[in-house]
Symmetry: C2
Subunit: 217 residues, 2 copies
Amino acid sequence: MLLDPLYCALVKDRLPGVTVQRLPLYLKCLDDLPAGQVQLSSDELAARIGLNAAMVRKDLSYLGSYGVRGVGYEVEHLRFYIRQALGLNNEWPIVIVGIGNLGRALAKFDRFSSEGFHAVGLFDNDLEKIGDQVNGLVIEPVEDLPAAVADRSVVIGVIATPAHAAQEVAELLAGSGVRSILNFAPTVIKVPAGVKVRQADFSTEMQVLAFYLHDRP
Amino acid sequence: MLLDPLYCALVKDRLPGVTVQRLPLYLKCLDDLPAGQVQLSSDELAARIGLNAAMVRKDLSYLGSYGVRGVGYEVEHLRFYIRQALGLNNEWPIVIVGIGNLGRALAKFDRFSSEGFHAVGLFDNDLEKIGDQVNGLVIEPVEDLPAAVADRSVVIGVIATPAHAAQEVAELLAGSGVRSILNFAPTVIKVPAGVKVRQADFSTEMQVLAFYLHDRP
DNA sequence: CCTTGTGAAGTGGTTCACAGCT
DNA sequence: AGCTGTGAACCACTTCACAAGG
């Protein structure tokens, strides 16, 4: 398997943002394939996601030319190269802040480990919760977050607090050296340049769906 | 306030998809404004979200010309027109399928009502859970879902089940007449044309973040 | 013959720059 | 003087259409 770091860097710098967002979907499709299916075509993959086959081919071609003309793509190869491009063959320590129902669901989500993500800290400011265990991790007070981020080399922080606490937590995370934040709180957070945020809240998604519902034939 | 339906339809048909995705963010920013702030400029709004001011103006101009040159936008007007465009001034009955930690968090999420979304059904296939109450709603068996969708005029279905159940639930929802699905399960679901799906799962988002983490200067 | 990989054309989104109002 | 609204230029993404290759 091709792993030359210089080559990898080149590939990564040329990946359009939209392609990066679709790679996880391709990966999920590969996971859902019937056991024993060894190859698939761009047509097949496109149909599963509801995309144009040319787009799938273009996306995959950014990773290199790993298909076989007249045949298709070899499933295991493709999985490897997509994981490679996304960085899922690495190990990413993460923390989750706010251990309500949502935080608990995230902490227990076990698909995680196979994708390189590994929760190494759960934080909350509710004294009732601190000390409780979830999925083998003890809930710690938010005050200990900065030290934990540094000690445990955390690079991704997940915010699962109520909206009013999100900005403060974001600053705490960014200030502690976290470079990526996944924000589940229904509020827009502001972070220093260099920190990547993704908004993942329920209400944003529902509102987008609502738009496509009303007054349509 | 301008409510002519013909006019509204025209506005809606001309809204680019990306603009629709940003409107909820603008709305959240308005909510976070200090109480008493009565107007704001495109610059101010852009800075909060991390966008170019010209883009904010163009987005808002699709809704009509509601700004005042030399001054800015009136906060309450803007809120009204954005809500109007998204359809949040209507009432949208929704169901949630899969009442684990995540489903429970969604069911309890109370920002909902103010945005026109109203959970009218919670479903699960676990006999242990059926009959339990969450936020005033009784958890019902999935078998009763189609009848409930019809009876209660449900238009949005939220899938919060494990991945292996998602496709089946999606088909059940679509078959019952639901036109929009928000899928939290980490799998790609296939639905008939005319049904809108948004993927909202944790692992997709984390994988995108991972991409931007590795090997960057 | 079938399916990939890819220039070229087409579409859609963003940014610029400035005219138009207040 | 200041900020919106918007054509025009620019850039990014998607789709087409076909050459290349097993």
